[in-house]
Symmetry: C2
């Protein structure tokens, strides 16, 4: 309906004018940087190819999804999942194409677990015969699978799972049974309403040899094992007798996926249900064979953690892109020292810069560490496949530490960006209402971020113990060398000179190393020398792990820039500034540790805020181009504030005035009348019926 607002324009200068100026004022080419960051693995080509296909499909339009109820959102998500799967057929997409589409649509699909954990588990843990049976059914989507491990009472502690799989020697079946309410499976994605099959992880209970055929055999638990189980009728899609399944209900985010609860009541599955690539039960004797390579399961978890590390950069880049573009455009207040001047663009306030620009630098730090993580994973994986497990412990430690550290940074960073947007950051057009709550899941999935840092610290303490025990033998690797250097200096009571971090980029790396080594040394003394209880040290263990992850991030960032030859001088100079900003900003938040460990002098530490401000000033003119380089399409941003073209206010207004369904309803505000919607009559009872 046309009205007088149609001809109104935002006050001048408008967003497009401002962003054009921002882009022109920098000598950095966003296009060049994008190639540097994302041409790897065909990412840019793939995004450019898939995006227009999705944008053409009305079902993938995101305009109204925030106005739907959970049940309607789920119906939409399932319809989208089906369409997406059809597009795979229609365009002959490979798995990377599919994942790109999934990322751009930004729904966690009801098929998610089928496409990821279910198929991966069968591929890695099923015997050849099992694979021959199941893989064609999975790939054709004749069956839809999920992965049911976590229970109501146990998540992190997998050994504590309560669901039982008891071997019945007489019938040669396993009996799945939930002895308590807390044994209920819980959180298992794609299983609540969608899947008809699942990998079900249960305690394998086998009769103690000699008691197999007695009337009341004695059972021994062999720990959690994976079973592949049909859980719903293929026709009616109802749970099979002896199984209760459902969706656990609304959550903080992730509305479009059906996280499940599932319980079993003496439910029998055949011998072939146990995935038996590594663990086997002899169907005749009930005898158990040990997995030949117990650590392979570790490998899968490491893979998912390393993937989360790699993905973290784009989640943060999405938030930072919105924040940089919008705060470049937004103006508020005149300069207190120049009341006659124009209003200031809020990104020119140091109090806005300090929230956004270090995070902009962090997106780049995350990028290089994500690549390094992938590289380490791939080479370790190849070694493992050759039967060499020597690099597994390091890879496991690195992926656990970085998963914890990077997802913490990103979860907090997204919220920091959102708040930096002021009031409009709270609105639905910010682009944060799905990104923020969805990403928060990352800090607990695949190992709670606090819990898994113990695994890192445990590895590092072992390394420090080894270094101390063999202090006079040559170092076996860089970590060993740095620990021996630290220990030797410490033993000799050497006066340690602080590193001159303002005049050497490499000294920055060394300062992070020394700080981490000092924290590790303290906890090593407590645990190994003073025999303190592990639990009592947990806060320090977490700190050691976070400090170590920072060492890796700073070191990898430094090495990447040091060895990079292909990019222009202008881009390179800004990348070094980002490196310094990231390092100094991070250092400042732990100044006392850097001081206390002798890594940096009090003089330089007290100068850090000034240095941080200096590098923010140097990066500021390039900020828009530095976020443009991430090439995040408007379709994914779904943000009026972060649009590439800068039409912030036009889009905010359009979404409110033309796209908000609440404005189609006229209400009756008089409290003495039962009518809620004008002309709707007495709706009291229909409202009550929904409660």
């Amino acid at each position: 309906m046309p009205d007088f607002t149609d001809k109104l324009q935002p006050s001048k200068p408008d967003g497009p004018t401002i962003l054009a100026k921002e882009r022109a004022q920098s000598n950095i080419s966003a296009e060049e940087l994008a190639q540097h960051l994302l041409s790897h693995d065909g990412f840019l080509e793939r995004q450019a190819r898939i995006l227009p296909i999705l944008e053409k499909e009305p079902l993938f339009n995101k305009k109204q999804q925030a106005n739907l109820s959970r049940p309607d959102l789920f119906k939409l998500a399932l319809a989208r999942a089906k369409l997406l799967r059809r597009l795979v057929d229609r365009h002959g997409w490979n798995i990377d194409d599919y994942k790109m589409a999934e990322t751009l649509i930004d729904d966690v699909s009801p098929y998610f677990l089928h496409m990821h954990m279910f198929v991966t588990t069968v591929r890695e843990q099923a015997s050849d015969a099992q694979k021959a049976h199941w893989m064609p059914l999975i790939e054709s989507f004749k069956i839809i699978g999920a992965y049911a491990q976590t229970e109501l009472g146990h998540g992190s502690n997998v050994q504590g799972l309560e669901l039982e799989a008891r071997w019945d020697q007489r019938t040669h079946e396993f009996i799945l049974h939930s002895p308590t309410l807390t044994a209920s499976k819980w959180w298992n994605g794609s299983l609540g309403r969608t899947a008809n099959h699942a990998i079900v992880v249960a305690q394998l209970l086998l009769p103690r040899p000699g008691t197999e055929t007695s009337a009341s055999p004695q059972y021994v638990s062999h720990g959690p094992h994976p079973f592949i189980v049909q859980v719903r009728h293929m026709e009616s899609h109802q749970p099979l007798d002896g199984i209760v399944i459902g969706d656990i209900g609304p959550k903080f985010g992730y509305s479009t996926i059906d996280n499940a609860y599932m319980l079993f009541d003496q439910f029998r599955v055949p011998h072939s249900a146990l995935l038996s690539r590594y663990s086997q039960v002899d169907p005749e004797t009930g005898a158990y064979s040990q997995p030949k390579m117990g650590k392979v399961v570790y490998g899968t978890m490491t893979y998912v953690r390393s993937l989360i590390v790699h993905q973290s950069r784009l989640a943060l880049a999405r938030a930072v892109t919105v924040a940089v573009r919008y705060t470049s455009i937004r103006r508020q207040f005149k300069d207190r020292d120049n009341a006659k001047g124009p209003e200031i663009h809020v990104l020119d306030y140091p109090t806005v810069q300090i929230r956004i620009l270090p995070l902009l630098a962090t997106t780049y730090a995350l990028h290089y560490v994500g690549l390094a993580m992938q590289k380490t994973y791939k080479s370790a994986r190849m070694e493992i496949e050759r039967g060499d497990f020597s690099s597994l412990a390091y890879m496991h430690s690195m992926s656990s530490g970085l998963k914890s550290h990077c997802t913490n940074i990103v979860a907090d960073g997204i919220e920091t960006c959102r708040r930096a947007l002021g009031g409009h950051g709270y609105g639905g057009a910010s682009g944060f209402t799905r990104l923020g709550p969805d990403y928060l899941s990352r800090v607990t999935v695949e190992g709670d971020n606090w819990m898994i840092t113990q695994q890192v610290a445990s590895y590092l303490i072992k390394r420090m113990t080894d270094a101390a025990a063999n202090i006079h033998t040559p170092a076996v690797d860089a970590i060993d060398a740095s620990y021996k250097e630290f220990l030797t200096a410490h033993q000799n009571g050497q006066v340690i000179e602080p590193y001159d971090v303002f005049n050497s980029d490499y000294a920055i790396v060394k300062s992070f190393q020394r700080r981490a080594s000092a924290l590790l040394y303290d906890v090593y003394v407590e645990r190994v020398i003073n025999k303190k209880p592990w639990t009592s040290l947990m806060i320090q263990l977490n700190k050691v792990s976070q400090a170590q992850s920072l060492v890796i991030m700073v070191e990898v960032f430094y090495e990447a820039l040091k060895s990079e030859k292909a990019i222009s001088e202008a881009a390179k100079a800004s990348l070094w500034d980002l490196y310094r900003l990231f390092s100094f900003y991070t250092m400042e938040s732990s100044s006392y540790d850097f001081f206390n460990s002798g890594a940096v002098s009090q003089r330089q530490l007290s100068e850090l805020p000034t240095k941080v401000k200096q590098f923010m000033t140097q990066i500021r003119p390039h900020a828009v181009n530095l976020v443009d380089a991430w090439m995040i399409p408007d379709y994914l941003l779904d943000s009026a504030l972060g649009r590439y073209d800068g039409k912030v206010y036009e889009d905010l207004f359009n979404r409110a005035h033309h796209e908000n369904p609440l404005n189609q309803i006229t209400f009756n505000p008089n409290y003495w009348e039962n009518e809620i919607v004008k002309g709707g009559g007495d709706e009291w009872s229909s409202i009550l019926a929904k409660l």
Copy 2:
């Protein structure tokens, strides 16, 4: 439908058993503490009286609200608002009773602005004649009002508002007009769909004297002024001609309130629309009279900020209550040094304690500072009403600083508690899905938390400047005394002894003061002596403000305990431990500042983590009773995890299995079939129609 899950119990020991033990093991009486904290102003009596009335009303049942669409949520909210208003009539509730009910229902009501800002503004800024006309209409709800100040382009900077109110001398009317899109009112609560009247803040444009009656008078802006305006037809509830209004759409939280956009096209209002208690326009001459007490408007803002400070404690207490109860019950992993023992209650892990127990201490710190803020506000208000404005600047500074500091702590603290719950913290039954996103609004409303700290710093720099200029005259108050002490020591180059914070509770207060004074002194030198641009100092200004707010919090906490005589020794001892935990935990996060300012020795600073652990260990046995003392009813918590009775897993399962509407729907997961719901036929088009 009965099934085999009906008879299942959680694994032993169950929640009720554990909480009973927790409550018995502490010698602190939750009841005694509750009286100490909340008997003030009849809070406990009021809560006990109102709660059962609300719980009886099916419309106030919260079970299904997370499953509703935004339009349905809004209909529900309006129905609830009507019912609540009827309960006021039925039970003869006063305004405090009403606000208690509003808090417990936990919907931000569509009548919110009518009941708060609208009526307050009329009461404070209307002339007696205006009040005589409007107040009866407001109090009887014959009209529903809102408050429209913020615009699409301007929030914090009120002086920059674009909406014009131009005086037409010929017709004796004001012409409201939005010259641009960014002049659109935006965010104005209760106005999007509910209100038919509003306070509209617009730039008052008056003809330059002598040009009033010319064909093209020259206009001069007198800044933003409030007008009371009818915006919708009383019968049809449609916007009046020349006005466009609507709801801005879905947001991060606050779904149940209709935040508005509103624009005017040469819309005429009578002379009487200008609220004229302080500012007047002569209807005959168009001449402007200055407000006699310009700062009174300040007073209203200060009132709202001080209220937010006071309310912050219960928002955090809600989160901490859930976190303490659930982590007492939850068990995960055995002790690494005792593999044969039982699983450990997660609140016994230091890594869980460090996230929750300092926040438990913070709820108490916030309580005392909230009371102090209310007291300062009331006494200053009385002085102002006597025409004495001398305490206004201090009160404004205190309320701005604390609003920023306390809402930051609480917004972050709620999320910290949520994450400490692990996976279940992400579920809808956590009690955080409404609390978290709703509370996030507090960091931007009533002055963005970063922006308003400038007002604090500005005041403090002035105080430091005064102290420096009059260093030899006697101190006028405690702040002046502490600044003069600092300056004298600094001038004399005295070697300053650090405070012995481990052996004196008062030394803790002094150490926070010295650290704040040192930060302030540095910025005073930069600004006043070195004449640095204000903008360039903003990060430091923010830091000064936050440090000053901490001084107030620590000082007030100390004074409250020092002077408290009425409570038992056991309770008192734990309150002192909470004071120390809050102080040391806070100090540790800024160790470098405390070191650098000479406030605390390096030896004590390096001991802080140990001290924090020690006080956490002392508080741990009392944790459940210390949260019980906040007396937050289950109805408000709305959390399976935080229930008073500890039936965590029973309630989680009940909500999923019996209350989740998604489980009433059976889906068709086959991607080649258009059917989404089993038996539903081809729903593709009905789904598309909702997009």
